[in-house]
C-alpha cells in the first residue's frame, strides 16, 4: 500500500548530512544536558562521530542503502565510544538491513528499517521504558508508527505520530529516576532533568521526518 512512496539513496544521504549538522549545532546543548545528570560528553562524542562520517561520506555515495548505513554505523561505533557508540552504531548498522541491499525502499520497508534500528538499541542497551534512556523516545515512537501503519494512514501522518510520540517519550524522562547509564547512581537527583540520549534520539527521528516532508 505504500508502493508509491519511495525513499531513495539521496534521501538517506541527505538525512545523514543533516544529522552531521545537528551534531554540531546541538553539541553544547546535549553536552549540557549530560553535565546535569551524566558525564558531560554526549554532544561532544556525537560530533566526533559525525565529523568522521562527514569525512567519509563521499566514498560511500555508490553503496546501496544496507551497505551505506552499515558504514555509518561502523564509523559511529568506532569513533564515538561510550554508551552512545554501541547504541547509535548499532541503530544505524541495523537500520539498513531490511533494505536488502537495494537502492531505494518504499515507506513500508522504511518503517521496518526504523523498527530494526530501535530493536538494536534495545537489545544492546538492555533498557526498557522508564529507565530514563533513549528507549523512552524510540519505543513509543516505534509503537506509534507501527499502529499508524497498521491503520493504513498516509506516510506523513504516520511519521508525524511517530515523532510526536517520541517527543512525549523524551519529555517523559524529565521526572524519572534513572535505571541505566551514568545517571543510575543519582537516585532522586536525576529527577527534573531530561535524559540526553532521549533528546538526541528525538532529534534523529525528527530529521528523518523533516526530509520526508520534502519528498511526500
Amino acid at each position: 500500500m505504500y508502493k508509491n512512496y519511495i525513499l531513495d539513496k539521496d534521501y538517506f544521504i541527505q538525512v545523514v548530512k543533516d544529522l552531521a549538522v545537528m551534531a554540531e549545532v546541538e553539541r553544547d546543548y546535549l553536552t549540557k544536558l549530560d553535565s546535569l545528570i551524566g558525564d558531560s560528553d554526549h554532544g561532544i562524542n556525537l560530533s566526533i562521530g559525525f565529523r568522521e562520517v562527514t569525512k567519509k561520506l563521499p566514498e560511500w555515495e555508490n553503496e546501496n542503502i544496507t551497505a551505506f548505513f552499515k558504514k555509518v554505523g561502523m564509523t559511529l561505533l568506532g569513533k564515538v565510544g561510550g554508551a552512545a557508540g554501541p547504541l547509535y552504531g548499532g541503530f544505524f548498522m541495523k537500520l539498513g538491513e531490511p533494505a536488502n541491499n537495494k537502492e531505494e525502499v518504499d515507506f513500508g520497508e522504511f518503517c521496518n528499517m526504523i523498527k530494526n534500528g530501535v530493536e538494536a538499541v534495545e537489545s544492546r542497551g538492555k533498557a526498557i521504558i522508564a529507565d530514563k534512556t533513549m528507549v523512552d523516545t524510540f519505543r513509543p515512537a516505534l509503537d506509534a508508527l507501527m499502529a499508524a501503519v497498521e491503520a493504513g494512514q498516509q506516510p506523513l501522518d504516520a511519521f508525524d505520530k511517530c515523532v510526536k510520540a517520541g517527543e512525549i517519550g523524551r519529555d517523559s524522562t524529565i521526572p524519572l529516576i534513572a535505571k541505566k547509564g551514568r545517571a543510575l547512581r543519582l537516585g532522586e537527583r536525576a529527577i527534573g532533568h531530561m535524559d540526553p540520549g532521549s533528546a538526541s534520539s528525538y532529534m534523529i527521528l525528527n530529521i528523518f521526518y523533516e526530509n520526508m516532508k520534502k519528498r511526500f
Binding site: R27, D28, T31, S35, L36, I37, G38, D39, S40, D41, I44, N45, S47, I48, R51, L77, G78, K79, V80, G81, G82, A83, A84, G85, P86, L87, R124, G125, K180, G181, R182, L184, R185, L186, R189
Partner: protein, 331 residues
C-alpha cells in the same frame, strides 16, 4: 579556559603521541591502532595479558600504568568516554601470549558495552578474555554491583598485574583482581569542575567555595553539596564511610592512596593524609604502604579522594611486587 592545547578534536591523539615520545623505552602505540598503548615487553611468554582502559582525561590513569610488572596494554577512549570495541579487541591480539587476557576497568555502562564487544570478537578467535569491573566508589550506590570505579583502579590493576607476572593462570589473575576490588573502597570530594577542552567550559556548575562529597571522576554528581569545610572534617566524614565499609578493626592492615583529581596541591594531600593516618592510628589499623599524588585525575579538577585497600599477606605481596611503568616505579 585555562588549558594550553591545540585543536581539541586532536587532543587525545596529540597526548598519546607526546606520551609515547616521552616514554618510548617503556611503551609504544600499536601500529594499526593509535588508541592502544602497549608495553614494550608484551606479549610476555607464558603470562596472562593484563589490559586496562577507559576514557581519556584521567591521566596518569590507564596509560601511565603500562610497563614492566604492570599492565600490558591500555585502551584509550575519547575524553570521559569508553574506547570503542575495535581497540579493545586489538589490545587482546597484541598482548595475548596464549594464556588469555583480563580486562580491568571502572564499572560504567559505556565501557561495559564496548569492552564486551571486544571480548566477543576475541572469543570468536578462540582467545579467552575475562573481565573484572572495578567498583570502589562506595558512595555511588548502595548496591555494590552498581558502583563506579575510581582511584581504586590503581590497586586492582596492581594486584592483578603482579599475579599475572608471578605466572598465575587466568583464573588466578581474575581471583586476585576480585579480591583487591572487594577489599578496596574510595570516597572523594570535589571543590570545583574540570574544564572540557572541546566546549571550553566547566563540565558542571559549582559555586566557588562549595564542595561536593562523593562526586565521581567524570564530575557525576555526588551525594551532598555545601560550603567547603576544613580538611580534617571532610577527611573524617570520608573515613566514617570507608572504615565501616571495609569493616576495619584493630590489627587490620591497609594501603592508603590519597589522590588528587588534578588541580589539588600536594600540600593539601599531605594535610589530608595526616588526618587519615591519625584516624587509622586511633582505630589500631596499621598502614602497610602509602601512596600520595595524582593517580586518577579528572584533568584540572580540584578535589581529593581517599582510597583504602585492606591487605592480607597475599595482597601485600602483590602490591609490593616490583614494577617499572612510567608512572609507577617500585623496586
Amino acid at each position: 579556559m585555562r588549558r594550553l592545547i591545540n585543536d581539541p578534536y586532536e587532543i587525545v591523539e596529540e597526548m598519546l603521541d607526546g606520551y609515547c615520545r616521552a616514554f618510548g623505552d617503556h611503551v609504544k602505540l600499536l601500529e594499526h591502532d593509535g588508541r592502544v598503548v602497549v608495553s614494550k615487553n608484551a606479549p610476555k611468554k607464558d603470562k596472562v595479558g593484563v589490559i586496562v582502559g577507559g576514557g581519556s582525561g584521567h591521566e596518569p590513569l590507564f596509560l601511565g600504568y603500562v610497563g614492566e610488572g604492570f599492565a600490558d596494554a591500555a585502551v584509550i577512549g575519547n575524553i570521559n568516554t569508553s574506547p570503542s570495541p575495535e581497540p579493545c579487541y586489538n589490545s587482546v591480539k597484541a598482548v595475548d601470549a596464549g594464556k588469555g587476557c583480563i580486562y580491568l576497568y571502572g564499572n560504567y555502562a559505556g565501557d561495559v558495552m564496548n569492552f564486551d564487544i571486544g571480548a566477543e570478537m576475541a572469543a570468536e578467535e578462540g582467545i579467552r578474555v575475562e573481565t573484572v569491573l572495578i567498583t570502589d566508589d562506595v558512595i555511588s550506590s548502595k548496591n555494590v554491583a552498581d558502583r563506579r570505579g575510581i582511584a581504586g583502579d590503581f590497586f586492582v590493576f596492581k594486584a592483578a598485574a603482579a599475579k599475572a607476572e608471578e605466572g598465575s593462570d587466568l583464573d588466578g589473575v581474575v581471583a586476585a583482581a576480585k579480591k583487591a576490588n572487594e577489599n578496596c573502597a574510595t570516597m572523594g570530594v570535589a571543590l570545583g569542575a574540570a574544564e572540557h577542552p572541546t566546549t571550553g567550559s566547566e563540565m558542571f556548575e559549582m559555586e566557588s567555595g562549595d564542595m561536593e562529597i562523593g562526586m565521581g571522576i567524570h564530575g557525576e554528581p555526588g551525594v551532598r553539596r555545601g560550603k567547603t569545610e576544613p580538611a580534617d572534617a571532610v577527611v573524617t566524614e570520608i573515613m566514617d564511610v570507608l572504615v565501616p565499609e571495609l569493616k576495619l578493626a584493630k590489627g587490620d592492615e591497609v594501603c592508603v592512596l590519597v589522590n588528587s583529581l588534578g588541580a589539588t596541591p600536594m600540600m593539601d594531600l599531605f594535610v589530608a593524609f595526616r588526618k587519615v593516618s591519625m584516624i587509622l592510628e586511633e582505630k589500631g589499623v596499621t598502614v602497610h604502604k602509602t601512596f600520595i599524588g595524582t593517580y586518577a585525575s579528572t584533568m584540572n579538577m580540584p578535589g581529593t579522594s581517599v582510597t583504602l585497600l585492606k591487605v592480607d599477606d597475599e595482597l601485600k605481596k602483590l602490591i609490593d611486587y616490583p614494577t617499572n611503568a612510567p608512572y609507577f616505579i617500585q623496586k
